[in-house]
């Protein structure tokens, strides 16, 4: 199961980077970036998974003592929480930039959005 997740995540990252490198429209670039980010999160969680184990929540049918052998690694899940929110924050700021850039130059094409004198 973890192979599919890792491969899928890696694929997502590569698609994201491809999107960022080749697409002309900045919205598509931002979408590429968020794809790249989500790919990262998938890989992050995928790595933490151990074969046929359950979520690390201690409750009635998962006593404390037996937890260590039947539970998945909780640390990546904690980290991914922060990573997702960071990804969100960056994308939000990027969208704000895209909005302003569009308002000032009425175009979304990345090659036009260069400074006038690029000496």
């Amino acid at each position: 199961m973890t192979h599919i997740a890792l491969a899928g995540g890696a694929l997502l990252i590569l698609i994201g980077v491809w999107g960022m490198l080749t697409k002309k429209n900045i919205i598509r670039i931002i979408i590429g970036f968020s794809l790249f980010d989500t790919g990262l999160h998938v890989v992050l969680v995928g790595l933490g998974h151990l074969k046929n184990r359950t979520a690390p929540i201690i409750d009635s049918d998962l006593p404390r003592e037996a937890a260590a052998s039947r539970v998945v690694d909780p640390v990546p899940q904690a980290i991914v929480l922060t990573a997702i929110v960071i990804g969100l924050a960056v994308t939000a700021v990027l969208l704000a930039f895209a909005l302003k850039l569009y308002q000032s130059r009425k175009t979304l094409d990345i090659s036009e959005l260069r400074e006038g004198n690029n000496d």
Partner: protein
């Protein structure tokens, strides 16, 4: 066209790099030492049933604090960045959204908010927590905007809620320094009975504060983006 071909070779390079990464990952089927520590004495030390929450709030509490700051920074950036964009004419325009959405939202929004609150209050017991709850609340506000785009009320409340919950969170963290073992320690309040609502020390309080803050910040970002039209 050359650019695409060149990009493709770069992607191949990265793919090769990922493949190497993949081959070098550890294939042990057992928990590594930090994970084993968290699982074994996480519930005991922090008293929270959900081990992930104990990691997120106490063990790696500084990350969460940092992460909340990021959201706060993003919100205030978008706030002062798009602020002079607020166009007045949208304020009082009648909603031309469909009748079905309008009445549905009136009924659904409080339910969504309730669900959000439930999720971040029970953060330490059931899966989910501050961030997930906050996101649900934010989806509630999105529904509100879709229903009535000209809604302007509640902006002041959001700001107060946001900074108040942030200050409280920092206050609790600093309190941990003096009262309990260290910065962000949750034992400033009694651990209480394991598995019940008021257990695991300050975790539920912190998590709900985070939930409120995340919900407020996301809605203020959405507010700013909504009003930033031409």
């Amino acid at each position: 066209m050359v650019k695409k071909a060149f990009a493709f070779t770069l992607i191949l390079g990265m793919g090769l790099l990922f493949y190497q990464l993949y081959r070098q990952r550890s294939t042990s089927t057992d928990l590594n030492k930090t994970a084993r520590y968290y699982v074994e004495n996480g519930p005991k030390e922090t008293g929270s049933a959900n081990v992930v929450t104990s990691v997120v709030v106490t063990y790696r509490g500084l990350d969460t604090l940092g992460e909340v700051t990021i959201l706060f920074v993003a919100a205030s950036i978008i706030g002062f960045f798009l602020k002079n964009q607020r166009n007045r004419k949208l304020e009082g325009a009648p909603g031309e959204t469909s009748e079905l959405l309008h009445t549905g939202s009136v009924f659904l929004v409080p339910l969504i908010f309730l669900l959000g609150v439930y999720v971040f209050v029970n953060g330490h017991l059931s899966p989910g927590g501050g961030f997930q709850g906050g996101a649900i609340i934010a989806s509630g506000t999105v529904l509100l905007f879709l229903a009535d785009p000209s809604i302007g009320a509640g902006r002041g409340v959001i700001h107060v809620l946001e900074s108040f919950s942030g200050m409280l969170y920092v206050g609790l963290a600093v309190a941990g320094l003096f009262l309990a073992g260290g910065f962000l320690d949750n034992r400033i309040m009694p651990l209480g009975h394991f598995g019940t609502l008021l257990s695991a020390g300050a975790i539920p309080v912190i998590y709900s504060l985070i939930g409120l803050k995340v919900g407020a910040e996301l809605s203020s970002i959405l507010y700013a983006l909504k009003d930033a039209k031409e």
